[in-house]
Symmetry: D2
Subunit: 156 residues, 4 copies
């Protein structure tokens, strides 16, 4: 269901290479005094796409005692401002997987490309901080869905 | 007032090179279901430090018709989780200034370094999108306060 | 489009008397450390429903120089907690209209009724604070859509 | 420490009857496109005051397995808009205590009274939903600090 339809990919003029995403509408509470979606808004949307992405591959957020992706680093580049009521499609994909980490990329598509972001996640048991190997089955799914680079041989 | 006191720099074991910052306390509404300050929290703190920094140099946010710094890109790397009630000092400084852009760096200091971030800003009239030269007086102040690199000769 | 379909009214077991609403999914960033949608979440949803309601009657938010509904008072009673990922339908209707004010009521429907709220709004030009009569055409639409009580003869 | 000083009570022209509070500064991210602190902002401040109030009486938030105050109902009436950078003092007190519930009142003091709110809380073990009697010692403290009405004999 979160796999984006061809109709949506076309409606938002999404460039090739994205197959997963969620739609959002810019809320009044997400817009700053200058009338533009706040910089935090895009990151919250990316967070929803991230959680939905892993859930779609059988790894929903379970709880702090189960291993899962935890944010190590985020970044976002803003291209076009968004106004209240603007509809967007936020796409997400995995760029690479290492032994215990991975990177997701995001793009926010409105009337034009509104921006691009990324998040580096560590596969970790939240409650203990124990860093674990990204599960093999999940790794394969990400490589298959997104042609993600498998860099397991390299550092953590 | 926003110039951090020696006592605070010492209390938070801030590394040399930071002189400006604001204190924050992690709010209940800023903590996620795993009990950690959400990734957006650090970025909101950095935003407050950014606004206070420019205000302290005589450039408060005036309105969409006046030129000022607008976010082009942000990033943050998380080092240690923060819990509700945790006190932090968020320091900010300018790393470099080009003709029409500049980069601020941030660090969040709790019991240990909680993370580091940055924001690249364009000097722009929000309402028109007109990109302007960073004012000379401001440029000098940033170079003086933070030993910021003046890269005006280089690209935008 | 924001008029709720019979299918949705049925899916969420909405009680009679509601015809307008918007669907939401509880976000990770809206959930508190105990795993429940924060109290502010319901109010943000109600805000979106309020704006959509007025837009659907030809009164979108235009700007601070145009007259429109401004919050005077809000309230919400929580009945059942919501967890991350929970889908809800948030319905809104006008309970009464006076000369320069009106009250909206809201209900949040999840697996069960998650809560009810209300907002009292004043019809005002934001920039000047000038309090104006609720437009006649709008008044009629609200009375017709929601059987709202028209209390114009009474106080402000 | 959260007991408001006479100097602050005087600075904000707080009416008699309030002795507990916290200072806040209106953030850029808390201000809406019309330049006013969003309605949710006041409620988030009240939440911080509520948590600090109970912590000051020896009942910090511990976790979902310990009994504590959980929101049943909130309300807020807005009197004066707040702008970015506006400093406020948010005061809180307990109005009444019943067997398993209590009501807190809040006021937001800026250059003038910005608004008043309240929250009705149930004393509950979050994880199980078990409703418990408000602890006697805490009840006495609230009655003593705020002249709160003790309505234990009445309904829940």
């Amino acid at each position: 269901m979160d796999i984006v339809s061809a109709a949506d990919l076309s409606k938002y003029a999404v460039e090739p290479g994205w197959s997963f995403g969620l739609p959002f509408v810019t809320r009044w509470s997400e817009v700053d005094p200058f009338g533009h979606a706040s910089h935090r808004t895009h990151l919250v949307w990316c967070e929803e796409v991230r959680n939905a992405y892993f859930a779609s591959l059988g790894h929903p957020i379970v709880g702090p005692d189960a291993a899962g992706p935890v944010l190590k680093e985020v970044g976002f580049t803003y291209e076009q401002p968004l106004a209240v009521g603007d509809e967007v499609l936020v796409t997400g994909r995995v760029a690479w997987v290492r032994r215990t980490s991975l990177q997701m990329e995001y793009a926010v598509w409105g009337r034009a490309l509104a921006g691009r972001g990324h998040a580096t996640c560590i596969w970790i048991v939240n409650a203990t901080g124990e860093r674990l190997r990204v599960p093999d089955a999940l790794r394969c799914q990400m490589v298959e869905r997104d042609s993600a680079k498998d860099l397991e041989a390299s550092s953590e």
